[in-house]
């Protein structure tokens, strides 16, 4: 079992986190400028979770996400220009501007979609895991969900079914302590690990701000799931830096909570580790600017995109087959 990560791996993890952070910061500015329609939920502060977990996945593995899904999408490798174009509501968007931030999906890379329904992605991931099992793809599925989603009944149903069927499924909880404007202790009375225990599902808790810790844990449990050991739980303690949505005045949250969150900056921790390993701050900076340039290019291209085609959308409610829409 791998117990540490190579310098190359750590750099790559850092890169993914920077990609997520800078993309979301860019989105935040675009939102402030009125360029982003609808709601925007940012995962700034939580980057280590998708970066660490998705690094442990293979191309054929699948992830189902939630409303705070940019990190999952980017870490799973969705096409960057299509990502921005979607959130900006353009025809060139991954979903042709029909879904937006809450529905970003790129099936080609196994990203089965962000989801507007809290808990909605859980059974979808379970079904995907079943497909992996039955088709013997060697792949596994990951369900990303927040601490707030733990209260939904589907979690229970999915833990049970995944356990009974020994599905290659990772329950990846991003526990940021908040469900919208309500703190975890008023939302959920159990520990996820204890629930897993009850269902015979092994679980690991990690510091979700430490990308190396997340990745090492993910490597272990992804390996177990892939080997046929059945479902696994990975709970990542993490911090939501921003409001529930962009524009949320966060009156319900005190300065200490916010400060505590900022104290555990996954990017800063990762940078510091890289520096300690002998990588110069300069090199890290150059490297970060490369990512920023990629983002800028993608945003620029996305902004030049067309308005989506209404007639094409209206004609695409059902799959078009040779025999016509109603195949």
């Amino acid at each position: 079992m791998q117990i540490e990560l190579s310098q190359q791996e750590l750099l790559s993890l850092h890169q993914t986190m920077v990609l997520i952070r800078r993309s979301e910061e860019r989105l935040s500015r675009l939102f402030a400028d009125g360029e982003v329609p609808g709601f925007l939920h940012l995962s700034i502060g939580q980057e280590a979770v998708p970066a660490g977990i998705c690094a442990a996945l293979q191309a054929g593995d699948t992830v189902a996400s939630n409303h705070r899904g940019h990190g999952h999408a980017l870490a799973k490798g969705v096409e960057l220009r299509g990502f921005f174009a979607e959130i900006l509501g353009r025809e060139e968007g991954l979903c042709r501007g029909r879904g937006g931030s809450i529905h970003v999906a790129d099936l080609r890379v196994g990203m089965l979609g962000a989801n507007g329904i809290v808990g909605g992605g859980l059974p979808i991931a379970l079904g995907s895991a079943l497909a992996h099992q039955v088709r013997r793809t060697g792949g596994i599925a990951v369900a990303f969900f927040g601490d707030g989603a733990m209260a939904e009944g589907v979690l229970h149903e999915c833990l049970n079914l995944a356990s009974l069927w020994k599905l290659p499924l990772i329950f990846a909880c991003e526990n940021n302590g908040w469900s919208e404007f309500s703190p975890l202790d008023r939302q959920f009375a159990a520990q996820l690990g204890a629930l897993g225990n009850a269902f015979g599902i092994p679980s690991v808790q990690v510091d979700g701000s430490d990308v190396a810790a997340v990745c090492l844990a993910a490597n272990r449990i992804v390996g177990a799931a892939r080997r046929g050991d059945g479902p696994q739980i990975l709970e990542c303690k993490t911090f939501r830096w921003r409001g529930h949505y962009e524009g949320d005045p966060q009156k319900y949250r005190d300065a200490d909570d916010l400060a505590a969150a900022r104290n555990r900056d996954p990017l800063a921790l990762s940078s510091a580790r890289l520096v300690a390993m002998g990588i110069s701050a300069e090199r890290i900076g150059t490297f970060e600017r490369t990512v920023e340039a990629r983002i800028e290019a993608a945003v620029e291209a996305a902004c030049l995109g067309r308005e989506p085609d209404y007639a094409a959308a209206a004609a695409d409610v059902y799959t078009q087959t040779a025999a016509g829409t109603h195949g």
């Binding site: 059974p123 979808i124 079904g127 995907s128 589907v154 009974l164 695409d316």
Partner: protein, 333 residues
């Protein structure tokens, strides 16, 4: 050609689909080892193995949501919701996920899944085991809704539903399970969206689906004795429904009755009546009349349920009412 029961026709369609396509899998409550509460899936686990035919716990939301993920994963799941009344527990997966994924993800994927579920009364199963809720799904873009009325259609439409790239709700009727009918030796798919003229006639059109087809045919017999030739159209699917076939018939008969077992108000008949009243306004010789259940939960006791369920006599009466309708007559509200 051989005679087969409706339940067995479904069973055979499932078996043939599984033989034809290794990606078809089945799961649901008590469908595998026990063979289903109405024996529809009997023998399939023995034939296709425990990997492809699975019993699930009592978890409708997850069964249906998992079907979405399974479909996205390259399989063709056919799941069962034991009574249509329990589909209330699976609405998120159907309405927010299955129906929308193709559209909402910009056409990247399809969700080839089928939900089989029986509706309807007649067994005194009471208010929570008898409802006909298909109208809800007609209102949801992205879903298809099929309601076969006989064994041959049950077979053919189920084959089509399983092949269909999009989510299909396949509604069976509990009282039809024992219905016998002919099935070809090498039966074919029946295209979703094409109605069938169950009986030709020139005096009035009766549009029906599912178990009401047989009821309408009986009504047509008694009407024939009075010299009234009713045309009975079996819709077969209600989303999409075959507007063209209905309009063609109404152009001929100038009178339309829509009948179903579901509650009349806000039911499938409302859409058909509204649409035909609009498109054939100039041609209709009488208002479109709807026959359906009274606006009440379906009651338990035998006498209550009998009175509640729309029957042959109600359909015949509506046809007569249509034929007797006088242009200047005011129908009382």
């Amino acid at each position: 050609m051989a005679e087969i029961r409706y339940a067995m026709a479904i069973n055979r369609a499932l078996a043939d689909a599984m033989l034809a396509d290794a990606s078809v899998i089945l799961f649901g409550e008590d469908v595998a080892a026990p063979g289903g509460p109405f024996t529809v899936t009997r023998g399939l686990q023995a034939q296709f193995g425990a990997e492809r035919v699975r019993d699930t716990p009592i978890s409708e939301a997850t069964i249906t949501g998992a079907a979405v993920g399974t479909a996205l994963g390259g399989l063709k799941p056919v799941v069962e919701i034991m009574f249509m009344d329990f589909i209330t527990l699976a609405m998120d997966a159907l309405v927010n996920q299955a129906a929308k994924a193709h559209f909402m993800f910009g056409g990247q994927c399809s969700v080839p899944m089928v939900v089989r579920t029986p509706h309807g009364g007649g067994l005194n199963a009471g208010p929570q085991h008898s409802q006909c809720l298909e109208a809800w799904f007609g209102h949801v873009p992205g879903l298809k809704v099929v309601v076969p009325s006989n064994p041959a259609d049950a077979y053919g439409l189920l084959r089509a539903a399983i092949t269909d790239p999009d989510p299909v709700i396949f509604v069976e009727n509990k009282t039809l399970y024992s219905m016998k009918g002919e099935l070809a030796d090498a039966p074919q798919s029946v295209a979703i969206g094409r109605a069938r003229i169950a009986q030709s006639g020139s005096d009035a059109t009766i549009v029906v689906y599912g178990a009401s087809v047989a009821t309408a045919l009986k009504a047509a017999i008694s009407l024939a004795a009075e010299g009234i030739a009713a045309e009975v159209i079996d819709l077969r699917s209600i989303q999409p429904w075959d507007e063209r076939a209905v309009l063609e018939s109404v152009t001929k008969t100038r009178r339309l009755i829509v009948a179903h077992e579901a509650v009349t108000a806000f039911g499938v008949g409302a859409e058909i009546a509204a649409r035909v009243s609009e498109l054939a306004f100039g041609q209709l010789a009488a208002p479109v009349f709807r026959v359906g259940a009274d606006f009440m939960p379906i009651p338990f006791a035998r006498s209550l349920e009998r009175e509640y369920l729309p029957g042959e006599a109600d359909i015949a009466a509506a046809v007569r009412r249509s034929l007797n309708w006088k242009p200047n007559a005011r129908t009382k509200p």
